[in-house]
Structures are given as structure tokens and as C-alpha cells.
């Protein structure tokens, strides 16, 4: 079985952020593998260990993002492709277009993506990619099994968990509730240096400037307003309940 995992380098959510004049300033030294992607890699590794498969990772990003590709290889992925880009303001449509161009001539059983990236939280790339490649797909996987030639996905829905069989070739986007991604061992780190990595450009994929034009744009960033302190009600339960109901109706307008 051949798995491709789309991964992204994102800022460490624990790293402090600053917003200055609408611009986001972040410590670019603290970049990590998107947690949802890490779960996708982990799940592919488990499935490929069980069913004798192969795991390839593909990453779009600047030169620095190579370290994140190496992390996935250190976890156990067999091979990597780094699609080097200079521009970091791409939206999900562009990312999915680049990936579509990449996958056009590839053979695979399944493509896994994180259900979203921790930096933008858009959650669109996986779905767009499945559409463009005309693949059956499902989202927000919290569990996977390989059964009778298909992957049986346990999907977390609003009302409960759904079991969805995704035939091959297909695409699944993964939640980080699915597993605990392995920590690279020293052996894995050592081996990751010797694993094959293809470095290509968007031009190599036959994409032009026009293809890479974004459709959505982030105009500016704003600080989240500080949460105001709550109100405490004290007194007889009857009276307090009456007052709370009144305020919910008149002030909050939720009744």
C-alpha cells in the first residue's frame, strides 16, 4: 500500500505571538510539524507497518521548512518531496492546486492530510485536493482500520461517530484525537539523513504565476479582545434565578 501524507510547517502554538500594526510577528525559530499532520503521519506509519506499505511525505514551504520534512522522515516515513516556495501568503486554493499538480502523475492508495493547519485553521486544502483529484474522501478521522481492500474511517461528526469506508484511491483528513504521534528515536533521526528527499519548484510542476494567484487574502490581524469578568449572583435561589432569567432576557437577549 502506498500512502502520501501532505504535511505543513507551522509556528509552535506555545511560542509567543505579537501583533503590530495589523501584522503578525512570530518567532520563526520555533516552527513545528502541524499536529494534525503528525497524526496523519503516525496513522500511515501504523497502517503501513501492519499491511506492508510505504509512506511518502510531501511538504510545500520555504527552505527552512525542510527541517519539518526531516522530522516526518525521522518518525519513519520512507521518502519526502519538498516543493519549495518563496511566497508564504498562499491560501488553501493555491496549496491544493500545487498538490493537485504534484499528484497528477503519482500512483497511490491513499492520501492523508491533517484536517487543518494550526496556523490558519482553514481546513480546506484536503477537501479541495480530493475534489480536484476526483477522489472519494472523508474528514476529521479519529480512527482507521484497513478492511477488505478499503480503509474504514471512524469519523467524528457533530452528533456522534460515523464509520465510513473509503475505497482506494482515496483521501482522508485526520484529527489529532486519533493517536499519539511517535517521538523520533535517535536511530530514526540518524536514518532520516540518508532517506531520499526530492526538492522541486512549482515551476517543475508546470505551474505559472497565474496558477499561484491567491483568491483570498489576509488583510490584517487584530488582538482578541480581553474577556470581561463574569458576574456573580448571590442570595436566595428563588430571587437569584428570577434575576438571572430577567437579565438573560433583557440584557443578553438570549431568551
Amino acid at each position: 500500500m502506498k500512502f502520501y501524507i501532505c504535511i505543513k510547517q507551522v509556528p509552535d502554538v506555545n511560542a509567543p505571538l505579537q501583533i503590530k500594526e495589523g501584522q503578525l510577528l512570530q518567532d520563526t525559530d520555533r516552527m513545528i510539524l502541524n499536529a494534525y499532520d503528525a497524526s496523519a503521519v503516525e496513522e500511515a506509519l501504523v497502517l503501513s507497518e501492519k499491511h506492508d506499505g510505504e509512506v511518502e511525505v510531501v511538504l510545500i514551504g520555504p527552505d527552512k521548512a525542510k527541517e519539518t520534512l526531516r522530522k516526518a522522515l525521522a518518525m519513519g516515513a520512507d521518502k519526502g518531496t519538498h516543493i519549495v516556495t518563496e511566497d508564504e501568503s498562499y491560501d488553501s486554493a493555491v496549496y491544493s492546486k500545487i498538490l493537485t499538480a504534484f499528484f497528477n502523475d503519482k500512483e497511490y492508495d491513499y492520501i492523508f492530510c491533517g484536517k487543518q493547519a494550526q496556523d490558519t485553521d482553514s481546513g480546506l486544502t484536503g477537501g479541495m485536493l480530493a475534489m480536484q483529484l476526483d477522489l472519494p474522501y472523508t474528514t476529521n478521522a479519529v480512527g482507521m482500520e484497513f478492511e477488505n481492500g478499503s480503509i474504514l474511517v471512524k469519523r467524528q461528526g457533530d452528533a456522534g461517530q460515523e464509520m465510513i469506508s473509503v475505497p482506494s484511491p482515496g483521501l482522508v483528513t485526520c484529527s489529532n484525537d486519533m493517536n499519539e504521534p511517535r517521538i523520533p528515536s535517535l536511530k530514526g533521526i540518524m536514518q532520516s539523513k540518508r532517506k531520499p528527499v526530492d526538492t522541486i519548484s512549482t515551476g517543475d510542476l508546470g505551474l505559472s504565476e497565474d496558477d499561484l494567484a491567491v483568491r483570498t487574502q489576509i488583510l490584517s490581524f487584530e488582538e482578541k479582545p480581553e474577556r470581561e469578568a463574569g458576574r456573580k449572583f448571590e442570595g436566595e435561589p428563588d430571587e437569584v434565578a428570577r434575576e438571572v432569567a430577567k437579565l438573560l432576557d433583557e440584557e443578553a437577549g438570549v431568551l
Binding site: S185, L186, I189, M190, S192, K193
Partner: protein, 394 residues
């Protein structure tokens, strides 16, 4: 910068390599996921964490800088320091287990062993399948290690080993011991040899775990060797030259204790930063008071200096350059800092810091070992003074 300037700037770099960063990140993730959660419980129960050691072995963290040929990671001493710091940040006992196992017991075999000895003994140690103990100190000889009374007498194709060793890390959980003993008692330090001894052999008697101030989940015992028959091929290094190797092993061990000390001090700072921002008195976080700020700054400055000294000593070792003085200086600086930083961390935490609800009281109890083990601070002074005299030609 012109080309020459760029070239000379390249000679001194404060960047960690990508390998080193990956190892540090992996160790940090490991420590946060597996080490931090039950550390207070382990300190109180004083049980040796066999399960954690097994996980460390799976990650390849029990033989970081030993050669890949003998089951090690094949990484450098700087990487080793980064791992020790990350583990010690939460659990100094566990960091001590790794450091002593790697640099003392396994380290002595890696330094002086023959290919056969390394294949047989170093490989399972570096892979973490077995644990090493290093037996130098005796009840009557500590800082003056050459005053030992343990002895080995040649008897055909064996040596007969007798003696009592104490303060042996991994004394009761260890599988493979390197034991220093007099083989020519009249010659002092020049009559000492090293032997590889298996725990299973007749006459090897580990004592009960000692009750200590700290480092509670690290195993420390006495070890008695009574007429232990050691095969001649288990002589480690040259006969009567064991003490020279011992000094080299201790030089390496000091780097580990230095890194461990930096880890504890960093823990003290991180816990104190967090607490002093959360704890409010007189209507504001205590971290906004200058009395507290100065303590935090003092810790941060000295942690930075100590880490650089430790990593430089490690780097020198990796370059194959002499590092006795630098390792000693780094160990002295970092170990004294670890005690003082932990002490100040308790002060910042006030009454809460004195309880086992918080990490900092453990940091202080654990840190005190650092100014004693692998040579006391006083002995570091002796070593540094001797190196200084050499340097100045006296």
C-alpha cells in the same frame, strides 16, 4: 563582512546543528510526555523506574554518543548534553541514571575496551538492554580515589577480586560493573586496574538502596565483591594503568553532571517564571517586584553562562581536544548554580515551594548531589588549580 571575516566568524558558531536540534526537540517531547507527569510520585516512592528506562532505550537515549558499531547512537557529546538537560529539567534522578550509565560504566568500556569486550558488554549497554555501574568509590576512599583497598590477585587465567565499593549508581539494578581495584598495592595510583564484572557472578553482592537527601529514584547502593573470579579477558585496559583511564572517564562524567545541573537550574527558572506571574500579592504578580525580578535574572544569566561552558567542554571532547580544565570549570559553575537556583526558586515560591505540591523543593534536594558526585566542588578547585599551574608553566 568580507570573505575573511566570514570565514573567521564561521570558526565560532553558537548554532546547534540540525541533528542536535532534532535530538533536543525529541528529548523535550519525551520528557514532557513521559517524564514530567509522575515525577513527584517517583521522588516520593523512591522506586527505580524500570519502565521509563525501557522507553529511553527504545528511543536510543541510553547510548547517545557511543559508536553505532556497538549499538550506540553515534551522536556527539553536545547532543548528549542536550538530552541530559531536557530530562533533568523534570527528573534529575532519571538524568543521573542516563548520565552515569552512559559516561561512567559504558564510557569506561568504550574508552579502554577491546573490540571483543565492546561487542560483548558495550553493545547491550548502549542499546539500554542492560545497565552499567561504575565502582570506584569505597567507604574509606572518595576524593582520594587512589587510596582504595579493593584488590585483585592473578590466579592462573583468572583474577580474584575482593573489596567493598559504595555510592554505586545502578548498584542494585546494574547488570555490568566496571570495578577499579589494586593489582599492585605498593604502587598507589600506578597499581590500579579496571575489570568488567557481571552481576550474576558468585561473590557479587549488591547492598540495599541507600536512603538519600534526593535523587530518590536513582539507584545507589553499596557493592561487596567477595572472592569474585574474574576471567583474565575481563581486565579492562592495561594492567596497572586503570587510574589514568579513570581520570579520563571522570572528565567525561563531569560534562554530564554539568548538563544535569543546567537542567535543574532551568527547571528552577521555568517554574519560578510561571509561579511569579500567577501568584498575586499586594494586587499584582510577585514577578513584577524587583526583589523577585533580580532573582530570576540572576538565574537566567548564570544558566546561560553554565550551559555555554558545559557545551564548550562537550565540544572539545568531540573535537578530540583536551577538556579536563573546561569540564571541571563547567561542572563547578553549573553544579553550584543548580543548588543556588533551586534554593532561590523555593524562596520565590514561598510556603508552597517548601511543599511537595511543587517541583522546586525536589530540585534543591536533587541539585545538592551535583556539587559532590564526579568530584566535589573542592576537588574541582584542585583540578582547575593544577591545570592553571600547568598552563602558566609552574
Amino acid at each position: 563582512m568580507n570573505t575573511d571575516q566570514k570565514e573567521s566568524a564561521r570558526q565560532l558558531s553558537f548554532d546547534y546543528s540540525q541533528d542536535q536540534q532534532m535530538i533536543r526537540d525529541a528529548a523535550r517531547e519525551f520528557a514532557e510526555r513521559h517524564v514530567a507527569p509522575d515525577v513527584i510520585e517517583r521522588d516520593m516512592s523512591k522506586k527505580f523506574p524500570h519502565d521509563l528506562v525501557k522507553l529511553l532505550a527504545e528511543q536510543g537515549l541510553m547510548g547517545i554518543y557511543h559508536s553505532e558499531e556497538y549499538g550506540g547512537g553515534g551522536f556527539d557529546t553536545v547532543s548528549f548534553c542536550l538530552v541530559i538537560e531536557e530530562i533533568a529539567r523534570w527528573d534529575a534522578s532519571l538524568a543521573l541514571t542516563i548520565a552515569s550509565h552512559t559516561s561512567l560504566g559504558s564510557g569506561h568500556i568504550a574508552l579502554a575496551g577491546t573490540h571483543q569486550q565492546k561487542m560483548k558488554y558495550l553493545t547491550p549497554l548502549a542499546q539500554g538492554e542492560k545497565l552499567a555501574g561504575w565502582c570506584l568509590t569505597e567507604p574509606g576512599s572518595g576524593s582520594d580515589a587512589s587510596g582504595m583497598t579493593s584488590n585483585a590477585v592473578r590466579d592462573g587465567d583468572h583474577w580474584i577480586l575482593n573489596g567493598t565499593k559504595t555510592f554505586i549508581t545502578q548498584g542494585s539494578v546494574g547488570d555490568t560493573f566496571v570495578v577499579l581495584a589494586k593489582t599492585d598495592p605498593d604502587k598507589g595510583a600506578k597499581g590500579i586496574s579496571a575489570f568488567i564484572v557481571e552481576r550474576e557472578w558468585d561473590g557479587v553482592q549488591p547492598g540495599e538502596p541507600m536512603h538519600k537527601l534526593g535523587m530518590n529514584s536513582s539507584d545507589t547502593t553499596e557493592l561487596v565483591f567477595e572472592n569474585v573470579k574474574v576471567p583474565a579477558e575481563n581486565l579492562l585496559g592495561e594492567e596497572n594503568k586503570g587510574f589514568i583511564d579513570t581520570m579520563k572517564v571522570l572528565d567525561g562524567g563531569r560534562i554530564g553532571i554539568g548538563a544535569l545541573s543546567v537542567g535543574i537550574a532551568r527547571g528552577a527558572l521555568e517554574e519560578s517564571m510561571k509561579y511569579s506571574q500567577e501568584r498575586k500579592q499586594f494586587g499584582k504578580p510577585i514577578g513584577s517586584f524587583q526583589a523577585i525580578e533580580h532573582k530570576l535574572v540572576d538565574m537566567a544569566v548564570r544558566i546561560d553562562a553554565s550551559r555555554m561552558m558545559v557545551h564548550r567542554a562537550a565540544w572539545l571532547r568531540d573535537q578530540g581536544k583536551p577538556f579536563t580544565k573546561e569540564a571541571s570549570m563547567a561542572k563547578l559553575m553549573a553544579s553550584e548554580l543548580s543548588v543556588e537556583a533551586a534554593n532561590e526558586a523555593i524562596q520565590i515560591h514561598g510556603g508552597y515551594g517548601y511543599t511537595k505540591e511543587y517541583h522546586v523543593e525536589r530540585f534543591l534536594r536533587d541539585a545538592k548531589l551535583n556539587t559532590i558526585g564526579e568530584g566535589t566542588s573542592e576537588i574541582q578547585n584542585v583540578i582547575i588549580a593544577r591545570e592553571l599551574r600547568k598552563e602558566f608553566g609552574y
